[in-house]
């Protein structure tokens, strides 16, 4: 029976990407703080930045174009190539 139907789903099965290993400790690491441009996200990142720097973590801030769209590939590449840690601020 199944062959008689045209599925509305894209049935291709995608491999599940495993989570990257969590860091055991953070001092000396490089952390990118990603502001997705949602309300008050920057405040959260300000706090994180202070805490990170106190813990000996190098930090850098990057910003998405808008919270409601996926990050540009160039930004993703920039984060992936330069950061050991990423913190993405949600909002509201």
């Amino acid at each position: 029976m199944a062959a008689d139907y045209v599925s509305p789903f894209d049935e291709r099965v995608r491999a599940v990407e495993p989570l990257a290993p969590r860091p055991v400790s953070v001092p000396g690491r490089h952390a990118v703080l990603l502001d997705i441009r949602k309300n008050r996200g920057a405040e959260f990142l300000d706090r994180m930045e202070t805490l990170f720097q106190a813990a000996g973590v190098n930090t850098a801030r990057v910003t998405k174009e808008i919270f409601s769209k996926p990050a540009a590939l160039g930004l993703i590449d920039e984060i992936a190539s330069g950061a050991g840690l990423v913190v993405e601020a949600l909002a509201d």
Binding site: M1, Y5, V6, S7, P8, F9, I66, S68, P70
Partner: protein
């Protein structure tokens, strides 16, 4: 139906080797016991999509799977349902372990003598059965996980001891009479509409099964392999065949398909930002506005009840677009569609403009098309708010009433709105503007200038940076520009009820139009 009592059995102890599984997962090939126990052990959770106790188990155990995996215990939910149903159900319930399906006649369930779902089975690294829990039994599961932790030399998280601590399971299909199983495993127990629900090919209402013949008729010679792009958020590919399948499911006639395809192209334009709209907690849906000769050709209603029920073309075209977003795009409520409330227009929302009854140029002409072209325009929109005005005797009064009805669009003190508010002007209201010689631009400008408030009165609760930055006495407009006011004409000849549809805000979504070809 419920018959499992929620009980711990140690019958598997004593060196019994766990039977091979032979179940299908999301990767290539079959899932093997050796693969599952390679990290140290495996927890098999036999479940069924129909069983509330299975849902409870998946909800309670699901969030723990990742931590177990890091400790060496691989959890796999083995469904008695088709794989696509299994994947969706697991995702919906927050199961973070592996997902597999035991196809009829359920050899794995039979091999493990599963009479009840859920049944949880612990298997050690050496492939030896270590214990079984039938039904939902939190204390027994905590003990089983304690045992697994000892096996792995690690403490494993256990589900919280919250009510219900115990709940009987449901009969496993493998334990039911084979003839009954066959009936249950067939297409919806022999009921095709039910099978559509089982497959998840629905928005919650019954659908027309998308048989190859129906989809072929919908395509009417078009290339079903043509891709219109990827549908966010799941990025399923919108082949024309899948769009046609959604049109069939929605109940469209083949004559509607050019409109559905144009709307699909429009919502997939990156400028529309369907991605943001599809996953937002906002209620917004995708409003489809149709202009041009195609309205008459396919029987779209722009008259009485223009925003309501009763007309197949309006209802099914809007529904087809939403099914494309929900099914091909994966934006089902509770899954990737995170709308807090949503609104009924998210089932489908298609309105045709009453160009013949309008005193103004229609929407598509405003947007640069010729009057003779058929055009679909998509707008991210909230639910309609009706605006009654049977008393205004001047266009100024009427325009004032219409405009101020939108003062609370999006949120009471959220001024100004950059995104479009759509006003559907009823014919009697339109007639007043016609008689007074008001152009569309004049009405839009009047409305824009009419709705203003001192910033000081707007500084309460949710408001905008514009309001915070303005002096308390400075007047802030409801809209950032007159262009944020969209005017359509539609509705029945009698009755002075127009409507305003608030925007989808903060998404950077633009209005997009596509010609119907």
């Amino acid at each position: 139906m419920a018959d499992g009592s929620g009980s711990r059995s140690d019958s598997g102890r004593g060196g019994s080797t766990a039977p091979e599984l032979g179940v299908r997962g999301t990767g290539p090939g079959h899932i093997t016991m050796g693969g599952l126990t390679a990290g140290g052990g495996a927890l098999l959770v036999f479940v069924s999509e129909h069983c509330p106790t299975s849902a409870l188990a998946l909800r309670r155990l699901g969030p723990l799977c990742r931590a177990w995996a890091q400790a060496g215990l691989t959890a796999v939910a083995i469904f008695e349902d088709p794989l696509d149903v299994a994947i969706r159900t697991a995702r919906r319930l927050g199961w973070s372990g592996q997902v597999a399906t035991d196809d009829p006649p359920y050899p794995a369930s039979r091999a493990y003598r599963v009479a009840t779902v859920p049944t949880s089975v612990l298997v050690g690294r050496d492939g030896v059965l270590a214990g079984t829990v039938a039904g939902w039994d939190q204390p027994a599961l905590a003990a089983l996980l304690g045992e697994a932790g000892q096996m792995l030399g690690a403490g494993l998280a256990v589900p919280p001891a919250t009510e219900p601590l115990r709940k009987p399971g449901c009969s496993a299909k493998a334990a039911i009479d084979p003839d009954l199983v066959a009936a249950m495993s067939g297409p919806g127990g022999g009921d095709e509409p039910e099978e559509m629900f089982e497959r998840g090919w629905t928005d919650g209402l019954p659908v027309i099964p998308p048989t190859a013949e129906r989809v072929e008729a919908m395509l009417d010679g078009r290339d079903g392999g043509e891709s219109l792009g990827l549908v966010p958020p799941a990025m399923g590919e919108a082949t024309l065949a899948r769009v046609a399948a959604c049109a069939v499911l929605a109940g469209c006639r083949p004559a509607y398909f050019p409109v559905v395809a144009a709307a699909a192209r429009a919502v997939l334009d990156p400028a529309f930002n369907l991605h943001g709209q599809a996953v937002t907690t906002q209620p917004a849906g995708q409003l489809v506005v149709v202009n041009g000769p195609v309205r008459e050709a396919i029987g779209l209603n722009s008259g009485m009840g223009a925003l309501g029920p009763g007309f197949r073309a309006n209802l099914t075209i809007g529904r087809a677009v939403r099914l494309l977003v929900a099914l091909t795009g994966g934006a089902m409520p509770g899954a990737m569609d995170r709308a807090t409330l949503g609104h009924m227009g998210k089932l489908g929302f298609c309105v045709a403009e009453d160009e013949e009854g309008s005193p103004w140029e229609p929407l598509h002409v405003e947007r640069g098309f010729d009057a003779g072209q058929s055009v679909v325009t998509v707008i991210g929109s909230d639910a309609p708010l009706s605006i009654s005005d049977h008393r205004s005797r001047t266009p100024d009064d009427l325009a004032y009433v219409l405009a101020w009805a939108a003062a609370s669009a999006w949120s009471t003190n959220w001024w100004p709105l950059a995104e479009p508010s759509v006003f559907v002007i009823c014919p009697e209201h339109a007639q007043m503007f016609r008689d007074a010689g008001w152009t569309k631009q004049r009405l839009r400008q009047f409305m824009f200038e009419a709705v203003r408030k001192p910033a000081g009165l707007l500084r309460r609760g949710e408001t905008t940076p514009v309001v915070h930055a303005a002096a308390p006495g400075a007047l802030v407009p409801k809209w950032a520009s007159p262009e944020a006011i969209v005017l359509l004409v539609a509705g029945g000849e009698a009755g002075r009820y127009s409507a305003v549809l608030g925007p989808c805000t903060g998404m950077g979504s633009q209005i997009v139009s596509r010609e119907v070809t």
